[in-house]
């Protein structure tokens, strides 16, 4: 059953896109990531112009995140205050990131920067998460106690001014690190066209030292806010949101996200992180491969006159 997309101006197979939305929504609900880093390459592979894929994806990610945050908040697993601080940073970062991306596109280097940042961030984060979570799983299997937590109060996290209480996460830390993290993720998400959950989730665990059960819901909460802003910005500035495409993806996405959020309660946090790390690593390597393999054609067409 093919459907013509009015903004993307291509014809797509509707059931395939709904199934795809459901699959990515499930992964999103399970791991607390937006899933943009998985979906963008798939949509582009299906022939949808990259700009439209990125623009419409924001709607899909926002929808499935709302769906799963609702589920997480019923389990009191969302730190709304922390999420709001991260989102404030994210909003600043995405405005900066959109400008950076515009300049890169004018220079024709957007592809390169996107591929390199995918390789770099997905590779490093995936690798770190995988070693850490596998270590944790192995220790549990052998019945060893967890290693003594390193300094629970790193000076740079607690020594900075502007301390704020985050009761849900049982943290009393400076507002500067989460805000800076939000800005960084905002820039990254605008440049890479993703929600940034795959950076946020490990950063909240390893840098902000938030309790593991708060991380996924809080990450998704900040993703709702940043993707809602970018989605409206993309439509307003670039007219690159295809509502039909977004609708197809989010029909599957909201249902998949519910199932994912439910399923997450049945797995251990370390095991989930290990699987997420593997997915992240594979996507990063796949993107990196595109930089090394000889292209079919030495020339590449880009839509529009630019500027």
């Amino acid at each position: 059953m093919d459907l013509y997309l009015p903004i993307a101006e291509v014809s797509v197979n509707a059931p395939l896109l709904i199934a795809l939305g459901a699959l990515v929504g499930f992964i999103s609900g399970l791991f607390g990531i937006g899933g943009g880093f998985l979906m963008t390459p798939i949509l582009v592979f299906l022939g949808i112009p990259p700009a439209v894929a990125v623009g419409s994806l924001a709607n899909h990610v926002a929808a499935s995140s709302v769906s799963s945050v609702a589920a997480y908040s019923r389990r009191r697993a969302v730190d709304f205050r922390m999420g709001a601080v991260l989102a404030a940073g994210g909003a600043i970062g995405s405005v900066v990131g959109v400008e950076i991306f515009r300049i890169l596109r004018l220079l024709g280097q957007a592809d390169l920067v996107v591929s390199v940042s995918y390789l770099l961030f997905l590779g490093v984060i995936g690798g770190l998460m995988l070693t850490e979570s596998l270590g944790a799983i192995l220790r549990q299997r052998r019945g060893q106690p967890a290693p003594p937590p390193r300094d629970r109060r790193p000076l740079w996290l607690y020594g900075l001014p502007l301390k704020v209480r985050f009761p849900r996460s049982r943290l009393y830390i400076s507002v500067i690190p989460p805000l800076a993290l939000g800005i960084f993720v905002g820039i990254l998400s605008a440049v890479m066209g993703v929600g940034g959950g795959f950076v946020l989730v490990p950063a909240m665990v390893y840098i902000l030292r938030m309790p593991a059960q708060m991380v996924v819901g809080t990450s998704l909460f900040q993703i709702i806010i940043t993707t809602a802003i970018t989605g409206v910005l993309q439509a307003g500035r670039n007219q690159s949101v295809d509502i039909v495409l977004a609708a197809l993806l989010l029909i599957g996405g909201v249902i998949g996200a519910q199932l994912g959020a439910r399923a997450s309660a049945r797995f251990r946090a370390e095991e989930l992180r290990a699987v997420l790390a593997l997915i992240v690593l594979l996507v990063g390597l796949q993107m990196g491969l595109g930089l090394i393999v000889r292209p079919d054609d030495p020339f590449v067409l880009m839509q529009g006159a630019g500027g």
Partner: protein, 256 residues
């Protein structure tokens, strides 16, 4: 022109006439491309051999193209080059290979054939002083310019948007010909100029112009217009819809 035999001047000139089976292609939600036929007739009382060329060109779409080159093992894009004058869709069909139908100058003048499309990279032109000569027009791409230009055509051909068929015009009966144009689903919307040209003895003797419009209709059109005329409203509405859908799904699932 002393060598023109008087017989040709006296005989009535040959003429071509043609119609499109469809003049409006409607793009709705079920659009998967369209096939349009061109039917035509050649009128020539003397029955001299005639060649017919059908060329159809969609609305102009400026495009950018970059070249990849390997630097330290990594494939990098060059600075993109903007080409102007490239139609979003182009197809030329003829009864014989174009090189046999007409002379190079006529093909170039009429823009017939993929080698003769009038596309150029105006921003690469620069006026500078070279070898002490002022106001020289220099193309920054230099000798590579031809590679760039042919890459544009090649990539468009690969996407199914440009094509040339040297046997695309078939005579179905004496003086009666037919040609087919297949529009892919991602062909641009807008005005398509169709031109049917009759060649005799290597010269264009008769021309017919027909237009074809490809336009979105119904819901597709309404959404497209809304997205372009009121982009912020459209953006807010589609985001509100997305958020509501997410919330609704969580409500439904809570009950079950």
């Amino acid at each position: 022109m002393t060598d023109l035999p008087p017989a040709i001047i006296q005989s009535p000139p040959a003429a071509v006439s043609a119609v499109l089976t469809e003049t409006e292609v409607k793009v709705n939600s079920g659009f998967r491309g369209a096939t349009i036929s061109v039917y035509g007739a050649v009128f020539d009382p003397q029955g001299r051999p005639a060649d017919v060329v059908v060329v159809i060109a969609g609305p102009e779409q400026p495009l950018r193209i970059a070249r990849k080159s390997q630097v330290a093992g990594i494939w990098l894009n060059s600075r993109p080059v903007v080409f102007r004058g490239a139609p979003g869709f182009y197809r030329v069909a003829s009864s014989r290979p174009l090189g046999e139908v007409a002379r190079f100058a006529d093909l170039r003048r009429l823009g017939l054939g993929l080698d003769h499309l009038a596309i150029s990279a105006p921003m690469e032109r620069r006026i500078e002083t070279r070898y002490g000569v002022r106001d020289m027009v220099v193309n920054q791409l230099g000798a590579d310019y031809f590679d760039w230009r042919s890459a544009v055509i090649r990539l468009k051909q690969k996407a199914g948007l440009y094509s040339a068929d040297p046997a695309g015009v078939r005579y179905v009966d004496r003086g009666l010909f037919q040609a087919q144009v297949v529009l892919p689903a991602d062909a641009p919307t807008g005005l398509y100029k169709t031109r049917i040209i009759l060649f005799q003895d290597g010269r264009p003797v008769s021309v017919r112009d027909r237009t074809l419009t490809v336009e979105k209709v119904g819901v597709e059109r309404a959404l497209y217009l809304l997205a372009h005329r009121h982009p912020w409203l459209y953006g807010l509405a589609s985001m509100a819809l997305a958020l509501a859908a997410g919330w609704a799904a969580s409500r439904v699932f809570r009950r079950s």
